[in-house]
Amino acid sequence: MKFGIMVNEGPYTHQASDSAYFFTKAALDKGHEIFRVFFYHDGVQNGTDFTTPPQDDRNVVKRWSELAQEHDLDLVLCVAAAQRRGLVDEDEQKRHGKDGHNVAPGFRISGLGQLIEAGIQADRLVVFGD
């Protein structure tokens, strides 16, 4: 079965991203396909390359990047939400004249159409949030 996953909250402050991660991992381990994981609202913060969590705690961002690499996942940060919250890839850096870019490996910035497409193409859309 094909799943679409929507993550509405950022790392650490809410459990949403953790729940989404474990759900995604379990679905993959059971042989399901993850069509896309779409990060919206503060969920785009899951894609920041600049977190330095304490050594004895889980690294939420890195965990997503590693899962994406292992399973060739499509992790998408909503461009409108990202612009509001300061998530910038190289294109956005050039477009808006920012000093740098900060999207973690495995994530890409794209439009809300990607979320709608996930709703259309997936058999199930599961939303994690507040």
Binding site: I116, G119, L125, V127
Partner: protein, 138 residues
Amino acid sequence: MSEAGATKKFLYINRKAPYGTIYAWESLEVVLIGAAFEQDVSLLFMDDGVYQLIKGMDTKGIGMKNFSATYSALGDYDVNKIYVDKDALAERGLTLEDLQHLVWEDENEDWAEKDSIRLVSRDEIAGLLEEQDVIFNF
């Protein structure tokens, strides 16, 4: 755009008040983008989400963009099934008259103006949820 023969029933559920958090506005942004994909779209306002539709909002004092007009534009985007939980309104001391009058123009009836808001009971909401293919929550 939708795949041939694959129109899905999309429901966007709003349960949060506007301005105290961003969910009301950012959910509208999804609805507007989603309108281009020609799916069978409905919106549901329940619990504190009914507050989003109150008319006469003035946000100048809080320095936030007033997005009330976006609800009235929904009809132009072919989003005309707007369900409002009548019990949620009553619990909050509100009636239909407190809400914006949202309309759409039916091209199949000579562009006759029709009401987009449909007041629903909890039983009707239960049925509405079960009909959907995709449900968005914010």
